[in-house]
Amino acid sequence: MSQEIVDTVTKYLTPNIPIKQISQGAEAVVFTSSAHPYLPTPEHDADGKPLQYIIKYRPPKKYRHPIIDRQLTKHRTLSEARLLSKLFLIGGINVPKLIATDPYNGCLWLEFLGEDLPNNSGFSNLKNFLWANVNDPYNDVVKSTLIKVGEQIGLLHFNDFCHGDLTSSNIVLARDDTQSNDWKVFLIDFGLGSMSKLVEDKGVDLYVLERAIISTHSAFSDKYNEWIIEGFSNVYNKHGKGGETKLKEVLKRFSDVRMRGRKRTMIG
């Protein structure tokens, strides 16, 4: 990342707020900070360590025309904040807690989630988690985690929300509690998300995730996608006849979208 972006963000946040960059995504730079935007004293966790917060900053993109840039930054930050606050209230859906937002400057404060995986496998998102398990790709923890991923997406879609950019790096895993081996699945980055009742959007969502899994974890993608769809179906099937009909519609559109991929060879 260029120094220029660090300078803009420090200028915007003022030097009083300590920041540490953790990643540069496509449209946003993510920092951690121990400062809370409006609470006077820093919060501490159970062990007495100061809590960390995520600052997600969308820097102005110089390649875009300023008009397009301003519009997109405002729209995406605002809609992300709105979605997060709505989703947080729905039972069962795991999203990071929203703390503060400034859409005009493209800044969001969120709760910090996840940890570092053992053996230097990196941060605990789904991508790194699957790579860390590459030697034993079909173990029970992987299976149950992927089913949970499917359930999260199922819940999201069942409540008529769409993510818009489902990839394995946009799914974060956090320990249920420190003792157990189980992971709690969180969806992050709702910058392209929307509220939508359209089957089309849901189908596209599933297709985007399927392709992301195929392209990054190609050797085991068949099984992985099967488990995700299993979890996805579980959510719908819990809601009786109506749920099953909805599920059929979504999965039908999902396979239609898959066929639409351009110049895909068709057999038969």
Partner: protein, 386 residues
């Protein structure tokens, strides 16, 4: 370990000579390359650094009158008419006297593309192969673009943005395949620009996209934009809606539809926008979408380099925007080539075909030379990389 020296050059030479025939769309290209069989190619991943020498690169474009596109039938006829002349010219320029002794391999485009033009060129390739007794290699057009781009720019492992009249894809290499991370869900970017050029009735020579670029450069009012939808869907994008909308705007402008308040002033009835403004807004909007999905793919695979290939890749505004994007990323670097290698040409087919040939993958029977209109980039097994 990749060994690119498994198949020795013919007649005990220490270099390979390959001829490439390309004709998947309205350009007919023939190129001859020479590539030494150096020792460093015997091991390691060196396919981006083959010391290729370009002996000739001839192209003939089938240009239609303004307002018209090229039809498969007419394009095929153009290719049939020009093929022999261009092959002769390419051989002459490369100073190849005895093709049956000097040429190692004939490479032709197997797909994707328009059926009839592909077919005409494949027939020419088969004929040459039988005439000179030289082996054939069928090449995927997209892989041809990627390999030529890598050879010219020496980019080792870039994210590839492949933008042309028929394709819009963001590609990254992983485990012996060029995998498609994002692509258009409907029309290709080049197709979108070409069709808009047809509505504007601007000339198709040298290419419709180039003329739109020039019009956009001359836009007087670059501070304001005509609002178009911004349809990035994850790493994919959609362009047909934007095209349909800007098409109606252009038609309203030409027809003088005063009811359109966006184009004409409410009181005076004077037009508020010009054709240049339309071109500028369209380019800014579409290219911002392209750069964004490329950046997404880069973030996803942790890449630092971008390579732009394909006809639209010769657009300097797109290259400039990509450069600005890369500047804001750690160690970001953009690689682009000029129109000689961006726009469809025979050299790129020769380069990709030669790599394939050196790995021992060539046509053993003429029945394997059937062309195909649908041939995805990720179907090719890339044996020459690690």
């Amino acid at each position: 370990m990749v060994n690119l020296n498994t198949v020795p050059p013919r007649n005990n030479r220490d270099y390979y000579i390959a001829i490439g025939l390309e004709g998947s769309a309205n350009k007919l290209g023939v190129g001859v390359i020479k590539c030494s069989r150096s020792a460093h190619m015997a091991s390691g991943d060196n396919s981006h650094n083959c010391d290729v020498e370009i002996l000739s690169n001839i192209r003939n474009t089938y240009v239609t009158p303004p307002g018209e596109g090229f039809l498969p039938r007419d394009t095929a006829r153009h290719h049939r008419n020009w093929c022999v002349r261009i092959i002769k010219q390419a051989l002459e320029e490369a100073e190849i006297k005895n093709p049956h002794l000097d040429i190692d391999v004939i490479c032709f485009t197997r797909g994707p593309g328009m059926g009839a033009p592909l077919h005409s060129v494949a027939i020419a390739a088969r004929t040459c192969s039988l005439l000179w007794d030289v082996p054939l290699v069928g090449v995927n057009h997209c892989v041809g673009h990627i390999e030529m781009g890598r050879e010219i720019t020496k980019a080792e492992n870039p994210v590839v943005l492949y933008v042309s009249g028929g394709n819009t894809q963001v590609i990254a290499y992983s485990e012996n395949r060029y995998r498609i991370f994002g692509e258009t869900l409907d029309v290709a970017i080049g197709n979108c620009l070409d069709r808009f050029a047809r509505t504007l009735k601007i000339p198709n020579a040298p290419s419709p996209g180039y003329n739109i670029e020039q019009l956009a450069k001359n836009c007087k009012n670059k501070d304001s934009l005509i609002e178009l939808s911004y349809t990035v869907k994850g790493m994919d994008l959609s362009m047909s809606g934007i095209l349909a909308y800007i098409d109606t705007l252009a038609k309203d402008l030409f027809r003088g539809n005063k009811k359109n308040r966006l184009l004409f002033d409410k009181e005076t009835g004077e037009p508020k926008v010009t054709v240049e403004d339309l071109c500028y807004s369209l380019q800014e909007n579409l290219f911002a979408m392209l750069v964004e999905i490329t950046e997404r793919a880069m973030a996803h695979v942790n890449a630092t380099q971008v390579l732009i290939v394909g006809g639209v890749g010769s657009n300097t505004r797109l290259q400039e925007m990509m450069g600005q994007m890369c500047k804001d990323r750690a160690n970001g670097k953009v690689h682009a080539t000029d129109e000689r290698f961006c726009i469809d040409n025979g050299v790129m087919i020769a380069q990709a075909g030669l790599l394939q040939y050196r790995m021992g993958d060539y046509v053993k029977d003429l029945s394997e030379t059937v062309v195909t209109q649908k041939f995805r980039t990720d179907e090719v097994y890339v044996s020459w990389r690690e």
